[in-house]
């Protein structure tokens, strides 16, 4: 009996232990530099492992997981964008239905906007009003940044019974108008009066407009990927469209010449006179001329060669530093390890690279 008791005690010690509490201890990270770059790492869908990286180009220092390390809380599931308003950073966490508000200097969580559906980006109209775009709700959310609360919605629903329209992705402001692109299964740029919060017009562009910018000449540029092969919505040639935001008329359409191409991440340089975008095509099963492309806003044709060839990388996100036009592009590698951010000069010369988090997807320049 004694032997048995000893055996049982021994085995129980082997197999029994206390599990640790999941709440981590917050830490302190502080940066007081004026210029820095936030990298928003999406993380894996439904893993809840998105994160925030802070890069200080001044001393080339990198701080990973700044939100988690500072606050002891996971950022959430699929963080997609960040916008800075004064000293506050608004990090939109898509599949967690919320926006975290942080202090951009010490990364401390100071508030959150909750109760959203599938938020994508936040845009500030005034100190008391901001719009939040949304993938699923067929509406823009109107929020009050002072109270971090949802104050209303602007319906974009066209009651199309065949396809779910209109979602909202990005917003470009011009005058009193907000131009909102509807990307998924759609071909519209909606126009909203920011005084009345009503849809006042819509502009038809090439299928699946995914990104927009306003150049120095106050021209609205819209990049469409054309959809995907076999899509029930149909596939069209990808295109870059120039719109006059005053007349709301399409002025020029630059069509790509490859149906299998998928251009996205349209961005603008610091001077507002050059456009950048990511481009890749899997024509005939192989990657063709993929990379970061750049063109002048006054160009008459699309560029034929990339400024930064993709080579062995898998480019995923693109951002242009509004202070110096440096090109930031991300490589998500195998999407299950920490991704890389490659930094190039405006002319496409590699100047630096840093390691960020899992699936680095977008940038926010301080």
């Amino acid at each position: 009996m004694k032997r048995i008791t000893i055996l049982l005690v021994f085995v129980s010690l082997l197999f029994t232990s206390c599990m640790k509490n999941h709440a981590p201890v917050p830490g302190n990270v502080t940066t007081d530099t004026n210029q820095g770059v936030f990298v928003v790492n999406e993380g894996n869908f439904t893993y809840g492992n998105s994160s925030l990286t802070y890069y200080d180009p001044g001393d080339d220092s990198v701080y990973n997981n700044v939100f988690f390390n500072t606050n002891g809380l996971p950022l959430g599931d699929v963080a997609v964008s960040m916008t800075i308003q004064d000293s506050l950073g608004y990090v939109v966490v898509n599949n967690s239905g919320k926006i975290y508000v942080i202090n951009v200097n010490n990364f401390q969580y100071v508030g959150k906007i909750t109760g959203l559906v599938s938020p994508r980006r936040i845009y500030f109209v005034s100190a008391t009003k901001a719009y939040v775009t949304d993938l699923y709700s067929k509406a823009l959310f109107v929020v009050n940044p002072e109270t971090d609360s949802v104050t209303g919605q602007i319906s974009l629903d066209n009651h199309n019974t065949q396809f779910s329209q209109h979602n909202s992705e990005q917003i470009v402001f011009y005058g009193n108008d907000a131009f909102v692109n509807s990307w998924s299964y759609d071909d519209k740029v909606m126009v909203i009066d920011t005084h009345t919060d009503r849809v006042v017009d819509s502009i038809t562009v090439a299928k699946q407009p995914n990104s927009m910018v306003l150049d120095k000449n106050n021209k609205l540029w819209v990049l469409s990927d054309g959809g995907w092969s076999g899509s029930p919505y149909g596939q069209a040639m990808p295109a870059l469209t120039r719109i006059n935001p005053v007349t709301r008329q399409v002025e020029k359409v630059f069509q790509f010449n490859d149906m299998d191409a998928s251009p996205d991440h349209l961005s603008l340089n610091a001077a507002g006179d050059s456009l950048f975008y990511l481009y890749r095509s899997y024509s005939a099963g192989s990657l063709i001329d993929a990379g970061v492309y750049g063109m002048s806003v006054s160009a008459n044709s699309l560029p034929t060669l990339p400024i930064v060839p993709e080579n062995s990388h898998t480019f995923y996100g693109l951002g242009i530093d509004p202070h110096n036009s440096r090109i930031y592009v991300t490589d998500a590698l195998d999407y299950q390890q920490n991704g890389t951010v490659l930094i190039y000069s405006p002319s496409g010369v590699l100047s630096d690279s840093i390691t960020a988090g899992i699936i680095p997807g977008s940038f926010c320049f301080k």
């Binding site: 599931d77 909750t114 995907w228 029930p232």
Partner: protein
């Protein structure tokens, strides 16, 4: 061998347990040589009758169960392989759908089967439906007897959980019937402190972690299974099974979710009709068998969101119909006492139609699998036995590489209780229909996964005084190429990127002995598993290379102690996993890491018997120490919870 004999020992009622009835034999049936098959003890199956197969395997097998939550999707993987590398056969037909390639083990109640066998690694090839990881064989054979039996099992547990099961059996001469009817349901609304979100106290600035309920997590499972065994002559036996099951589950959101309370609610409904028939003709040294099965499943998966001013709408609404027909003809010939040949032909037909009525995506695809196999089993001087197996398979018109298998068992000449066993096989896994055709993102250019799967081990069994021991150690080594994973991009898409090397040890130990008036039964399993990614660093960066695969524990184990006195029993169950990582990231934080998982359950029961009747009462305490834990990141699991079971039999 002794392990299976132990299983036989457990079939006697607890109040009459006696090891003297067990015959220890040195004879090893030819068909088991080198397969390294383990069978779950019937004692355990009785104890866990109300559980799901995923819960039972996590407690009593060295199979890693990845559970998305209580009652939610649970997948199983052997030896560091993927969930899609685990095949499940129910009475000879595969439950692994050609569409998804994996089985949800939370949807298989243990009381529907009366035998569970595990064939890890190369040994699974010999069933004719091999898998890179292994195969789990489920049998629901009617018991052979004359008369009528009835079992009613009723359980009530925490979180409004109700498990009801009725099993009626009848045996009349050469005909046996078995009817099982069941219903499991749970509101599943346990409370937990959510430490993945926090509100800031406006007075003190400190965090307040909310006490939340696991809402939107209810599940229902109901069905009926009818089995017939008919033996009109001594040469002919016919078995037939039919199983219908309906399940309805709401899929909970992650605990980082703080969005609209009515948004992002997903629900999954499934109806499955399964039928299996086996005709077995035996004469002299020949045995001819024909197995045919039909598996028809309809799955509906949708997510709803509120739309401002319009009510709810579906974000997606996917309806999938999967029809599979499995057929196998096998001839077996015993050319003498020590030689056995088998030759067989298998034909499977699959049809999958999947449509999303919102996105208007989907596919309609057929798949035909033809396979031929040959097996030679030989024994020499009762000490050495081996099996050579070879299979050739065609998927539609694509010929897959030959699959050869070699297995052996060798009883040590100096000690017959010590057995050396091993096996090695090449295995091939063809991509699923979703891998190839899913819209958008399916990749029709995917290559089959293939690799070398092997193991080598020893097994020992002995008796010392009145204590019987058995145990074994098995070393395994799997080298898999063209491993398929889905990667994000414009759309999620699968690709062959990984080269995975999986190697490790499995140890098991089992003993039963009397202590005065008590019977004590102890068993323990331990697995050491290094499954590392050896992909192409020049293409995919070196952050993943040499790292343990995500959600694959290096250490896992379980322990059971069962003590019985007269009609009382107390059982302690412990199962444990070492820390697991969700990704390959190198600067890991607790956000990406799952703490070691040590789970303790305690069962106590008593049985009353009179004439041919018996009633037993069992109380189960799960998560005895009320641990807060996760099986998957950001998916809450319940604290201490209870189940009361009442079982009546005559």
């Amino acid at each position: 061998m002794l392990i299976s004999q132990f299983s036989m020992a457990q079939r006697v009622p607890p109040d009459t347990l006696s090891i003297r009835e067990v015959v220890i034999s040195s004879y090893k049936p030819l068909q088991e040589a080198g397969r390294n098959e383990t069978t779950i003890d019937t004692l355990i199956m009785k104890r866990e009758a109300d559980a799901s197969l995923s819960d039972m395997l996590s407690r009593y097998a060295t199979v890693f169960i990845k559970s998305e939550g209580r009652g939610a999707l649970a997948s199983a993987s052997f030896r560091g392989m993927a969930a899609s590398h685990t095949n499940v056969e129910w009475n000879g037909i595969s439950l692994q759908t050609p569409m998804l390639g994996q089985v949800d083990f939370s949807l298989i109640p243990v009381y529907l089967v009366n035998q569970i066998s595990l064939l890890p690694g190369a040994g699974s090839v010999t069933t004719g439906n091999g898998a890179l990881g292994g195969t789990i064989l489920l049998k629901s054979d009617p018991e052979i007897f004359d008369g009528i039996r009835l079992q009613v099992l009723s359980g009530v547990g925490s979180f409004h959980t109700f498990n009801e099961f009725v099993h009626f059996q009848a045996g009349i001469n050469k005909l046996q019937l078995s009817t099982r009817i069941y219903r499991n349901s749970s509101r599943n609304d346990f409370q937990f402190y959510n430490k993945s979100i926090a509100n800031i106290d406006p007075q003190t600035g400190t965090y307040i972690y909310p006490l939340q309920r696991n809402t939107n997590a209810r599940y229902e499972l109901e069905g009926v299974m009818q089995s017939v065994n008919w033996q009109p002559t001594v040469h002919l036996q016919v078995q037939a099974h039919y199983w219908f099951q309906h399940s309805d589950r709401v899929l909970p959101r992650l605990n980082t979710y703080e969005g609209n309370e009515h948004a992002n609610i997903s629900r999954q409904k499934e109806n499955a009709h399964r039928a299996a028939t086996e005709i077995l003709w035996t004469k002299n040294r020949s045995k001819l068998s024909f197995t045919s099965g039909l598996n028809a499943e309809k799955m509906i998966f949708y997510m709803q969101n509120p739309v401002y001013g319009s009510g709810y709408y579906n974000v997606y609404y996917s309806v999938s119909s999967i029809t599979s027909n499995n057929n196998r003809l096998q001839y077996r010939f015993e050319a003498g006492k020590n030689t056995l040949f088998k030759v067989g032909y298998g034909f499977d037909f699959h049809h999958v139609v999947t449509r999303d009525t919102v996105l208007h995506t989907g596919y309609d695809q057929y798949r035909r699998n033809n396979k031929l196999f040959f097996s030679w089993q030989q024994k020499w001087k009762k000490l050495f036995s081996m099996q050579v197996f070879v299979q050739k398979e065609w998927v539609n018109n694509v010929a897959l590489p030959w699959v050869p298998y070699l297995g052996f068992e060798w009883k040590m000449p100096f000690e017959h209780k010590l057995v050396l066993h091993g096996n090695i096989s090449r295995e091939v896994h063809y991509p699923t229909l979703n891998d190839l055709f899913w819209q958008p993102g399916g990749n029709p250019d995917l290559l089959p996964e293939e690799g070398l799967v092997s193991s080598l081990g020893i097994r020992y069994a002995t008796e010392w005084k009145r204590m019987r021991w058995s145990g074994g150690v098995t070393w395994f080594y799997n080298d898999i190429r063209n491993w398929i994973i889905w990667l994000p991009g414009l759309n999620m898409s699968p690709t062959n990127i990984r080269h995975v090397l999986s190697r490790g040890l499995e140890v098991n130990l089992k003993t039963v002995f009397p202590v005065r008036k008590l019977w004590v039964f102890l068993r323990a399993d331990y697995a050491l598993n290094f499954s590392t990614n050896l992909g192409d660093a020049s293409r995919w960066g070196n952050g993943s290379i040499g790292k343990q695969l995500p959600y694959t524990p290096v250490h896992s184990g379980n322990f059971l102690a069962d003590v019985r006195w007269k009609n009382f029993s107390v059982t302690w169950v412990n199962h444990a996993y070492s820390e697991r990582y969700a990704t390959y990231a190198s600067n890991l934080t607790t956000r990406d890491r799952l703490y070691p998982y040590f789970m303790n359950d305690l069962y106590a029961g008593k049985k009353w018997s009179w004439q041919k009747n018996s009633i037993s009462v069992q109380v189960k305490i799960y998560n005895l120490f009320n641990e807060q834990y996760w099986s998957v990141l950001q998916r809450p699991m319940p604290g201490r919870n209870y189940m009361l079971l009442l079982n009546y039999q005559f």
